[in-house]
Structures are given as structure tokens and as C-alpha cells.
Symmetry: C2
Subunit: 258 residues, 2 copies
């Protein structure tokens, strides 16, 4: 604020996202598939440090499969230090532990941390190293924390776009409100208990008429078993009507099909 | 058990995993990258229903980048029904909602459910449709639940291997014990408070000697600020020694460098 020497941060613009910083990526195609994976999860800020095959790169655009907004907005840097200079918080992705004392996050923890930084008005970024070698230790030192994806130790190689995809997925999940489990009803709705009981009485009436619910001492438990199955299935109103139709069709004196 | 008509299930063999069922995959390369993504997260049982480009497929093996155990073990089926016949629980992956009343899971919920089924001795599988069109409604009907990956609605296309990767990741995570955040100490350990206090006293002694901690009424708060920074950094024993060396070097009467 005016009159103090403290820089007061604006709070993050709505939808602010961490920068994805690819350090010395080798293949343009991998930059493209990484851009595509970014946009799948709403990440749009791509930074490239000395891409080996130059920039712009037509193979990157083609591999991005329509994620042009990411490719067109990519910023180019000569050095990792320049690419992170305006950031407040940086996480380095590595496949193997480094001999450094630094917090190591799972992707989920990293996503939560990045959300916190950005919600507080900070700018954040995630560093990814070249395909073959990963980040140098000098690049890792630039970071506040390290991110390692837990994988099958016997087959641990993730490619660049896959690493970006998994981290993008966790970033997206951290703010996603999709219910863990849901059911969508389009032209129908769950049956009411009254509709369900009407169906049960219809079915049981016909079963009585055809002599199925015998002997009498078994009748109550047979009815409970039948009702339980339909309860468990969570019938819709439409399904109740369909099944009443089935019971009616099967209980006619003569088959009516032609 | 003998004498009853109930089939008693063996509990799942250690490490049992859900089958990945690719229905009518088009490109052999995509089967290969899906196999690679599977093995990254310890999934090894691949089932293929009428792969368009035939099987075995050299492009699949090449794209699998060493996930030969998955490629070599793949089983081939003519129909989806045959591919799921021995399974107890099936989840269908879809990119768009279908007009069906069926539970819709996030990848995380699906992973938890699959773990539960398998822990109970059941066999489980996940269906993936062809690249261009996804599963048919007749295939989705085979499933107990549907899995949709929440993605950026403005750019939602995930390729086959990416969908397998994300679901494999959630499967792996559901049983992974990696701490959310950890610090690895290789040749060192966190400094004890005694070591830290020794360093503070050394530093403050030199600062007093050089007249930095003035005026006297500010001295306590200056010390608190300095100590707070080093506390927050979580110094190691090695770092304490390094910083004591730095203080000693800087407080010599004459620079010693040559």
C-alpha cells in the first residue's frame, strides 16, 4: 500500500493457474502432447526453456490436437532462472530422489499447495525436465518443493505428457465438485415407494394366482427375497411400468405373440 | 462349501488387479501406449475385443516401450460379452452421459470400488471403447457402473492411453502409502535444537561484536526475526555447520581469499 515498502499482492485473477515450465524439451511432439494434456485440465500457461527443436514448432502444434490456445500463448526463455523469476512458488517434478533436503509431495499434495498459493494471490509454476534426463540439480534447487508421482517401481517411466496429465488431473480434481457417485435420470425419476408397493402387490397377486408362492409357510420369505432384489436395484418409475407390463404379459391365459 | 449350492469364492490372489478391456481398439499403437500406462500402475491383465488392426500387432509392442509382460499376456475375444463373462464387477468408461440409469463414478470412486470387489475375492474389469466412438450403449449395459473423468468441458478429449493412465493412477493411489509430504535426509539429519541454539548464539555474538544489533531496544526483536527465518527453513545438522563456517569466514578481520 502507498506509504509502506511492502508490495501488496492483488488477489489472483479468477481462474489463475500454475505455469507449466518445460525445461529443454527435446521433441516438439512432446511439447504438443503436453499442451493438450494441460488444456484437458484447464491449464493454459506454457513456458519453454530452450526447446531443442526450436520454437514455434509445427510438430508441437499438430500433436496438440487443437490445444492452440496453449501453443500460441507459450513463452520462450533462455534459462530456467528467467522462466521462474516472476513466480512466488515453484515445484520441480523428478522421477528419482535427489540428494537434497526439500519437501517431496505427491501430485495430490502439490495440487493442494498450488491452489493455496494461487488463492493467496501468488504466482506458481511446475518445472518439468527434458525427456531423457529430467531436471538438473541446479533446476531442482530453484524449487520450493519436489513432486514425485508414485508409480510401479518395476516400470516407472512416465513420458513428459503423461506426467503433465497426471498433475493436471490432480490440479483439476482439487477444485472439482463432481460428486464421487451419482445417478442421472433423463426422462424418468426414481419410483416412489407407493409405485413400488403397487408393483409388488401386482406381481405377488399373479404369483399367488399361478400357485408359485407355496407352501404357505414359505410364502413370507419368498416375498421378502423377491422384494429385496427390486429394492436393491433402485427402480425408476419407468421400470415399474415396464415390469408391471411384463407381469401382465406373462400372466395372460394364452401367449399373444404372432 | 461342499454340501451347499453356494459357490464360495477364494479370496483374491495377492496383487490381483482389474482387467483392462479394450473394445474394438483401432490403432495398434494405442493398444501399446495403453499397455505401457497400465504397467506404470501395476495393471497387467489386458483383454482385447476384436482389435481392428489384428493381434499380435508389432506396432502395439513397440509403443508399449517395454511393457512386454502386458502385451504378451493379452487375451483376445470376439465379443464384449465373452470378454466380461468371468468377471463379477464391470465398470464402463464413457466420455459423455448415456441415457441410462446407472451409478456414475469419478476415477477415484471407481478405484475404491474396484479395490473393494477384488479384496472380497471378486474379479473386476474396466471397459474402454474404440478411440473415435467410445463404447456402444450395448457395451455400457454390460457394466455395473459408469466411470467419467471430470475434465475441462471446453477441451474434453482424452485419448485411450491417457484414460487408462488416469484410471491406473487412481487405482494405484488407492493403496499407495507414499506420505503426502516427506523430506528425505541422505547423509544428514535435522539439526537438534541444541545445535540450532549454538549456531544462533555464535551468529548473534559476532553480530554484537560488529555492532549490527543496535539500538539496544531493537535487539530482542531483531534476534527473533533472524532466529525465525532459520527455524522456518528446518535446518539440517550439515547446514548448521556450513552456516557456522559462513559466519566465521565473514567475521574474520581480513578477507582471506586469494
Amino acid at each position: 500500500m502507498a506509504g509502506t515498502d511492502q508490495t501488496k499482492k492483488e488477489s489472483a485473477p479468477a481462474g489463475a493457474t500454475p505455469a507449466i515450465v518445460l525445461v529443454a524439451p527435446q521433441l516438439g511432439e512432446n511439447v504438443g502432447t503436453a499442451a493438450r494434456a494441460m488444456l484437458n485440465f484447464g491449464l493454459t500457461e506454457l513456458r519453454l526453456v530452450s526447446p531443442r527443436d526450436g520454437w514455434p514448432n509445427p510438430r508441437a502444434r499438430s500433436a496438440a490436437s487443437g490445444a492452440d490456445i496453449v501453443i500460441d500463448g507459450a513463452k520462450l526463455y533462455d534459462e530456467s532462472t528467467a522462466a521462474v523469476a516472476d513466480l512466488d512458488y515453484v515445484i520441480a517434478t523428478t522421477a528419482r530422489p535427489r540428494d537434497m533436503v526439500k519437501p517431496i509431495f505427491t501430485p495430490e499434495t502439490a495440487a493442494t499447495k498450488l491452489r493455496e498459493v494461487i488463492a493467496g494471490g501468488g504466482k506458481a509454476g511446475i518445472l518439468f525436465g527434458p525427456e531423457r534426463t529430467g531436471l538438473t540439480n541446479d533446476d531442482v534447487v530453484l524449487a520450493d518443493a519436489v513432486l514425485m508421482v508414485p508409480v510401479n517401481p518395476a516400470f516407472a517411466s512416465l513420458n513428459l505428457a503423461q506426467a503433465v496429465l497426471l498433475i493436471g488431473h490432480e490440479w483439476f480434481k482439487a477444485a472439482d465438485r463432481t460428486p464421487a457417485e451419482r445417478v442421472e435420470y433423463q426422462a424418468t425419476r426414481p419410483a416412489t415407494k407407493e409405485e413400488l408397493l403397487g408393483f409388488f402387490e401386482h406381481l405377488e397377486g399373479e404369483l399367488d394366482r399361478f400357485g408359485f408362492l407355496k407352501p404357505p409357510e414359505k410364502r413370507p420369505s419368498m416375498i421378502r427375497n423377491i422384494r429385496n432384489l427390486f429394492q436393491r436395484a433402485g427402480m425408476t418409475e419407468q421400470e415399474v411400468r415396464t415390469f408391471r407390463g411384463i407381469v401382465a404379459a406373462l400372466s395372460r391365459r394364452e401367449p399373444k405373440g404372432d
